[in-house]
């Protein structure tokens, strides 16, 4: 992606001297206006993020003062008695997103590899289009589908099978209702798959064909060639996964409808759980009292921080991976 403007620049310089002036910092007024405008837009983004953090912090001060660090440790959420603890929500948010990634990453990689490396054009086009269409479905529709189709399917077939095969694990014990952490994770997985697979597809497409030819020329099988392509695309693939993770962490509506909305930490994937975004969406409209509102705002602040930390960890991981495979060079 970043290589494109450079190429264009080269062409323009070749075309005439005026274009050089347009691109140079000392160009005409239009150039100056454009630069100022773009700088303003970029600055505005930073300002919005900063002002959000400031506003969230200011509004959550009553709750921070009242509960302090206990807010992060406490498992009790009882608005009537004025006790607020965020741990079950943090757990639910992270756990449901992890389940989503565990399921969706292999699927997304498979879809992308198939579309780029294996499928003939007349299949790749429509399949790619359908996958991208999934990303355009409103999340409330996913939620309704979750309640009416996915939950009964899980309750009648998948969860009993899991319980009988892996029932000795605490992960698969407890009562089977079709509503719970596992269902929330699966809905999320379906929602992030199109995002991850679309980006991975673009990444794989951007890997130079010469890499494939070189691998094949050295006697690699198709699978070995694909591995070379994957290694080349690793940073981009990781970026795609981070993008999907961000979507999963913040998703509200669909998860709310199938996760069971219960502020508890349970080892079982069948038990109901609760995410931060769901809690805010559920309770904000009817929240009366300053402390209650403030606690909800602090939940928002925590979601912000969780997203930050998770993204940070993901980037460090990516950095580690790219450093190890660094010699191969980047895709795109």
């Amino acid at each position: 992606m970043s290589a494109v403007p450079e190429n264009e620049g080269m062409n323009f310089v070749g075309q005439g001297s005026t274009w050089r002036r347009v691109l140079s910092p000392t160009g005409n007024t239009g150039d100056a206006v454009f630069r100022v405008l773009m700088f303003g837009v970029a600055l505005l983004m930073v300002a919005i993020v900063v002002s959000m953090v400031v506003a969230l912090t200011v509004d959550s001060m009553p709750s921070i003062r009242q509960f302090g660090f206990n807010f992060l440790k406490s498992q009790r959420w009882d608005p009537i008695k004025g006790e607020f603890g965020a741990l079950p929500f943090i757990y639910g948010t992270v756990a449901s997103s992890l389940i989503a990634l565990l399921i969706s990453v292999p699927f997304s990689l498979g879809i992308a590899i198939f579309l780029v490396e294996q499928a003939p054009h007349y299949i790749a086009r429509p399949v790619g289009f359908l996958v991208e269409l999934l990303a355009a479905i409103p999340s409330v529709v996913y939620g309704l589908w979750g309640i009416f189709v996915l939950a009964p399917f899980l309750r009648n077939y998948i969860e009993p099978a899991l319980a009988s095969a892996f029932g000795w694990l605490p992960l698969f014990q407890g009562s089977i209702t079709g509503i719970g952490l596992l269902t929330g994770g699966i809905i999320l997985a379906i929602m992030v798959t199109p995002i991850i697979s679309a980006v991975v597809r673009d990444v794989l497409t951007a890997v130079p064909g010469s890499q494939r030819e070189a691998a094949l020329a050295l006697g690699a099988t198709k699978w070995e060639m694909i591995r070379v392509v994957l290694v080349n695309g690793a940073p981009g693939i990781a970026g795609a996964v981070i993008l999907g993770l961000g979507r999963a962490l913040g998703e509200t509506m669909a998860v709310t409808m199938v996760i069971g909305n219960r502020a508890q930490i349970s080892l079982s994937l069948f038990d109901p759980s609760y995410t931060i975004a769901s809690a805010i969406a559920n309770e904000f409209t009817e929240a009366t009292g300053d402390l209650y509102l403030s606690a909800l705002v602090e939940l928002g602040l925590i979601l912000f921080l969780v997203t930050f930390v998770v993204n940070g960890i993901a980037r460090v991981l990516v950095w580690n991976v790219t450093r190890k495979t660094g010699g191969v060079g980047r895709a795109a």
């Binding site: 005026t18 347009v22 005409n28 007024t29 239009g30 206006v33 454009f34 405008l37 009790r76 959420w77 009882d78 608005p79 009537i80 008695k81 309704l144 309640i147 009416f148 939950a151 009964p152 309750r155 009562s175 209702t177 079709g178 509503i179 719970g180 709310t256 409808m257 069971g260 909305n261 219960r262 502020a263 109901p272 609760y274 769901s278 969406a281 559920n282 309770e283 904000f284 409209t285 009817e286 929240a287 009366t288």
Partner: protein, 365 residues
């Protein structure tokens, strides 16, 4: 240079034009927000609050708008909590709430707030139990213990005792409750707190209680969806919602000891039973009502207004609208599955509307 490259000049002109257009847009938006209601005898009122009476209020607004073309009223159904907050912040002309405001909320408001009851709603118990065709009957302690997680099987002897002749399955009960903060939950937990000391002490009443057991569904539709789709569940939804969707509903034992089917008439009966003992400020809970026909899980929904109106023109429009609502407006209630106010309560509400003033002067007539 511009002569030799007209395209470039055109582009910067376009850019400039876009910029100007943006600036004009921003400026005009600022003007609008600062302008407020214009003159010419037109009045614009803003209201916000409870979602439960929203369909009725929207009907009221459109009907009232036909009669009074110069009055424009908007109602945003953002939830009772939000309505109370906006009324206290004085960003709306009236608020609406499913449960009466708390004392501390009233005290911290910048002026005296009146409660004008408009209609009644009820909460019904719905369930998914295959093989049971007649409506189930529950006594109040049984309802409380199911939602406390103390009764866990459908064939519990205490449920069986209320339902002689019904074959109950030996399955686990799955409780479904509202996950979003809701007046429906407030009414239901108010009822449970009245009939069960243990509920009152452990959970209490409010819009977002900490439920001892169960799954949370978002909205009436979320609870209904989970109950309909999951065998052996029990949940609670608004009466109107249950009637529209033809859900099985339980008959509940009221404070007088009779099992009552939830219906518009039995809800109005519950209100009538307590009308005489209504406190002066009309803030009252009518759950667990006595009276042979009174359904026990019901409540008023209120419009909240300041007693002293700052703007006499707007105040007058508001008073006229409220007066119309509790008289002419009541006839739209039944069609939309709300229970109209009993006649005694209309009289009490009239007195409240009559007491609204602007600068000390009454606003009626």
């Amino acid at each position: 240079m511009s002569v030799s490259h007209p395209g470039l000049r055109q582009r910067s002109l376009q850019l400039l034009a876009t910029f100007c257009a943006l600036a004009i847009l921003v400026a005009s938006a600022a003007c609008n927000s600062g302008g407020g209601p214009g003159g010419g005898g037109n009045v614009s009122l803003q209201g916000a609050g409870a979602t439960f009476p929203n369909p009725l209020y929207q009907k009221w607004l459109s009907e009232y708008g036909k009669l009074h073309g110069n009055v424009r009223i908007d109602y945003q159904s953002i939830g009772s909590g939000g309505g109370i907050k906006q009324l206290k912040d004085q960003t709306v002309d009236f608020g609406a709430s499913d449960s009466p405001m708390k004392d501390e909320d009233l005290k911290s408001a910048p002026g005296e707030i009146l409660h004008v009851p408009t209609v009644l709603g009820a909460v019904v118990i719905t369930y998914n139990l295959s093989g049971v065709n007649q409506p189930l009957r529950f006594s109040s302690e049984v309802v409380a213990d199911i939602f406390l997680g103390k009764i866990t099987k459908w064939n519990d002897p205490r449920i069986a005792a209320d339902n002689p002749g019904v074959t109950l399955p030996a399955n686990d009960i799955t409780v479904v409750h509202r996950s979003d903060g809701s007046g429906t939950s407030a009414v239901f937990t108010d009822y449970l707190s009245k009939v069960s000391a243990e509920w009152k002490e452990k959970v209490g009443s409010g819009t977002s209680p900490s439920w001892p057991v169960g799954l949370g569904g978002k909205g009436n539709e979320g609870v209904t969806g989970q109950v309909k789709n999951t065998p052996n569940t029990i949940g609670y939804v608004e009466l109107a919602y249950a009637v529209q969707n033809k859900l099985p509903v339980a008959h509940i034992k009221n404070g007088g000891g009779s099992f009552v089917e939830p219906s518009i008439d039995s809800v109005t009966a519950a209100a009538a039973a307590s009308a005489a003992s209504m406190p002066e400020d009309l803030r009252v809970s009518i759950t667990n009502a006595t009276g042979a026909q009174a359904y026990p899980i019901a409540s008023y929904t209120y419009i909240l207004v300041y007693k002293d109106q700052k703007d006499p023109v707007k105040g007058k429009a508001l008073v006229d609208f409220l007066w119309w609502g509790i008289h002419d407006g009541e006839r739209f209630a039944k069609d939309l599955l709300y229970a109209p106010l009993p006649a005694d309560v209309v009289k009490r509400a009239e007195a409240k509307i009559n007491s609204i003033t602007a600068g000390g002067a009454s606003l009626r007539q």
